[in-house]
Symmetry: C2
Subunit: 148 residues, 2 copies
Amino acid sequence: MLNIVHRVGIKSSPGGVHRVLATKQGLAGWWTTDTRGDCELGGVIEFHFGTRGRVDMKVLELDPAKRFVWQVVEGPQDWIGSKVSFELKQEGEQTTVLFKHDGWKEQSESMHHCSTKWATFLLSMKALVESGKGKPFPDDVHISLNWD
Amino acid sequence: MLNIVHRVGIKSSPGGVHRVLATKQGLAGWWTTDTRGDCELGGVIEFHFGTRGRVDMKVLELDPAKRFVWQVVEGPQDWIGSKVSFELKQEGEQTTVLFKHDGWKEQSESMHHCSTKWATFLLSMKALVESGKGKPFPDDVHISLNWD
């Protein structure tokens, strides 16, 4: 069971977090500005990262204000078939987001990189909800010189 | 095998990264300003976080400019016995740091939290080496309202 896991607490109702996970406009505010496709259950959301490539995610589960599960159907070889999930829960003023990227086949250097990169994007999501401005690609946080 | 993994690339020679991992002054610049104890092989480094508690790490391996392995001997219950390692390798202008926090017993919410928090501290280390200023406790990046 090789997973990447993260947790952020966002000063918001679950509805505020739901909005940035359930709509193209919301997703474009924290992951990549070039988000296309269909965010409905069974749809495929396309996340484009210019020359860095793309990731297409099929929406497997969608429980508004509680749980989102996507499966990678197109993207980097080691991402294909893996699942990305977000669990939301309200704790006082905060909505806690438990993130998981499941189904890595090996603890590769790429997995190490993606773990750190996901952290920066989840903090981008937090900033977007709390202050109205995230750091989606191409203005994302660079964590190394040779990758991104 | 429940591990937290991360990767950052730092614009520096391995020596520059080594310095911030091998000395109290270096560690105080990116993890916690209140770093005490003994950084030598077999020594115990104490990381104090004010009222949040402390973590004591025994230095198990120390291969200058290549590999650091610490074991938690005092700290949060779910950290005791776990190991933290940093592998350094030079890639052109960059020193790549492969980080691992090994030996989690369950994929708890605390593990999710620590994964994200480690990412922020590794980016603090990168900032320290590249620009001379990190974000160690108590000026660390807050990732939630109810934890830290």
